[in-house]
């Protein structure tokens, strides 16, 4: 019967390789406006970007249950300029609310690629970080940043509305400093992401070029 395969303690080489593999992919490639080089215009635009975050309405996992609570009267995320957008074209932020099944991952990638730059990804919950309690599930991916660039992780299962808002505030801070928005980096590292994505999505039927 199902015998649990142990990974064991990783060797130093494995750790090194893992550090390379899991190094944040989007460090400098897509940074058109670092804090140092940020001009006056970009500064003002970043102020607007920071205070106007449209969230694409896609509840990908069970963390979506705290989104209504965050958006409604007690926590009221709209006072930060956060509001829902019905379609990916209009949205800036994508919330990955928890685990992603392989079937959803395919849709999520499509939705992400349809969003317009600069775009941000906030990942919710332990299961988006390292698989959480679904680490041995055959249908959920374990490390989201292999497949999509992630700006902010919110830990917890599930994150409370306070921590969701804290995550948004953190994202605002990153936007202000010009450290958020990995759309261009995603484009420049597309081969790496595509390789990982295609490993999970067996029947690959995406457009060849990322030009939409």
């Amino acid at each position: 019967m199902s015998e649990i395969k142990s990974i064991g303690i990783p060797t130093p080489e494995e750790i090194k390789q893992a550090q390379i593999d899991f190094a944040p992919r989007c460090t400098s490639a897509g940074r058109v406006n670092d804090k140092e080089t940020q001009g006056m215009v970009e500064h003002i635009l970043n102020f607007a970007r920071k205070h106007s975050l449209f969230v694409v309405a896609y509840g990908t996992g069970c963390g979506a249950i705290e989104i209504p609570a965050t958006m409604t009267s007690r926590y009221d995320a709209e006072r930060f300029g956060i509001r829902g957008a019905a379609t990916p074209r209009q949205a800036d932020v994508m919330l990955i609310t928890g685990y992603l099944s392989t079937k959803t991952l395919k849709r999520v990638i499509r939705v992400y690629e349809q969003m317009q730059d600069p775009k941000y990804v906030i990942a919710f919950g332990s299961c988006a970080i390292n698989g959480g309690m679904y680490f041995d599930s055959y249908n959920t991916i374990n490390a989201l940043d292999r497949y999509l660039p992630v700006d902010v992780y919110i830990s917890g299962c599930m994150p409370r509305p306070e921590s969701v808002i804290k995550g948004f505030v953190k994202l605002q801070e990153l936007i202000k400093n010009g450290n958020a928005g990995n759309g261009e980096a995603y484009r420049s590292d597309l081969d790496w992401y595509r390789k990982n994505q295609q490993k999970v999505i067996k029947n690959w039927d995406f457009p060849d070029n990322y030009n939409w």
Binding site: A64, R107, T140, M158
Partner: protein, 368 residues
């Protein structure tokens, strides 16, 4: 008659009108749905597979995530199934606490439903109020169990901990507050001429077919058939509590809404009664060391009433420290697939999301 050209319209998975993460593929002619097909699997986490690799107590962390809007009936049902397999007794106080918690879970789920039903018809104000007020119930849960959504509170043999100090008063106060607020919601939603116009005669489930189609819960009671697990097979303290199971004729969205409108009042009534008659004594029959804990071989089929309808667990044990098979039957399994595919043809596209909300389709319950 000239047939209009049929087009294919995908509602979901990324769509504001969908409840959760699923997809409905519609064939539409003009504004009318000709054929509907449900596609699920976007939330499949293989719970039933994973539980086979966890021991009995570890399963509870996974179990409550079966259905996100209302996790407590899942715990309760599984705990009852394990108790039935083991023949374990539950103290009287635990029974009452379980009744209170499952009714509170119903109330918070009803409040979320208010949000969904009114939001899908464009009346966001009620949703904002009710989902905001839902936090008061979640506060009660937090005081009691430490978590807002996933509690893992009801274990085999009783509940995890006793009611904290002052909790009962707080629960009474919350019930009083909610009862007052409900009047406001109902005035705005149910007395609204446009809502009545939208809801009446839409998404009709025929009365004579309802049971055969596998309809359960509020949608079944909305066709005028009185069926509730809490009365048919009383569990916990429901046989000692006096409550009414409301029914409404019609089988449409309006009837289901009216049933829920009464049910939330009944739930508040039950919570008050259970708090009034809360017995003293122990709240927990201890289980052995969970790592060594084995459950005798056998099978159990246990049902519980949730907001969407009955929740059933088929649990098979082979006498080891892990479940052999845990199979959930949620109400959405039939409502979301076969019933939805039957009632959607002939409806307007505008009503798809409306009907979806009134059936309480919860995709994680379908695919697990």
């Amino acid at each position: 008659m000239i047939r209009e050209k049929e087009t294919t319209l995908y509602i979901g998975p990324q769509h504001p009108g969908i409840t959760g993460n699923m997809m409905i593929k519609l064939k539409v002619a003009g504004d009318t749905v000709v054929k509907a097909e449900t596609h699920v699997g976007y939330l499949h986490r293989a719970f039933e597979k994973l539980i086979e690799n966890r021991n009995w107590l570890q399963s509870f962390t996974l179990l409550c995530r079966f259905c996100v809007p209302e996790p407590d009936p899942m715990e309760l049902t599984f705990a009852r199934a394990v108790e039935e397999l083991e023949g374990r007794k539950v103290p009287e106080r635990a029974k009452y606490i379980r009744t209170i918690v499952s009714e509170l879970a119903r109330i918070q789920s009803f409040l979320l439903w208010y949000g969904g039903q009114s939001g899908s018809s464009g009346l966001y104000t009620v949703g904002q109020w009710s989902v905001g007020d839902r936090n008061y119930i979640l506060d009660l849960f937090e005081d009691l169990t430490g978590a807002r959504i996933y509690h893992m509170y009801m274990w085999p043999g009783g509940v995890r901990r006793d009611l904290p100090k002052g909790w009962i008063d707080k629960a009474y106060r919350t019930m009083d507050y909610l009862e007052g607020r409900l009047e406001t919601y109902n005035q705005l939603l149910f007395d609204n001429a446009i809502f009545q116009k939208r809801a009446q005669g839409v998404g009709i489930i025929p009365k004579d077919k309802a049971i055969e189609w596998g309809v359960v819960g509020a949608p079944l009671r909305g066709t005028g058939i009185k069926h509730d697990v809490r009365i048919d097979e009383p569990y916990e303290a429901y046989d000692k509590i006096d409550f009414v199971v409301p029914t409404f004729e019609g089988g449409d969205v309006w009837a289901r809404a009216m049933v829920r409108r009464e049910e939330i009042k009944q739930s508040i009534h039950i919570v008050r009664q259970a708090l009034d008659h809360l017995p003293g004594g122990s709240y927990y029959n201890r289980i052995p060391n969970p790592m060594k804990w084995t459950v005798p071989a056998g099978e159990a089929w246990v049902k519980t009433e949730s907001v969407r309808g009955e929740v059933g667990f088929y649990v098979a044990s082979d006498g080891s420290n892990k479940p052999r098979r845990v199979h959930l039957k949620g109400a959405a399994y039939t409502h979301g697939v076969s019933v939805l595919e039957k009632i959607l043809p002939g409806e307007n596209i505008a009503d798809v999301s409306f009907i979806l909300n009134s059936l309480g389709v919860c995709p994680p319950e379908i695919e697990r």
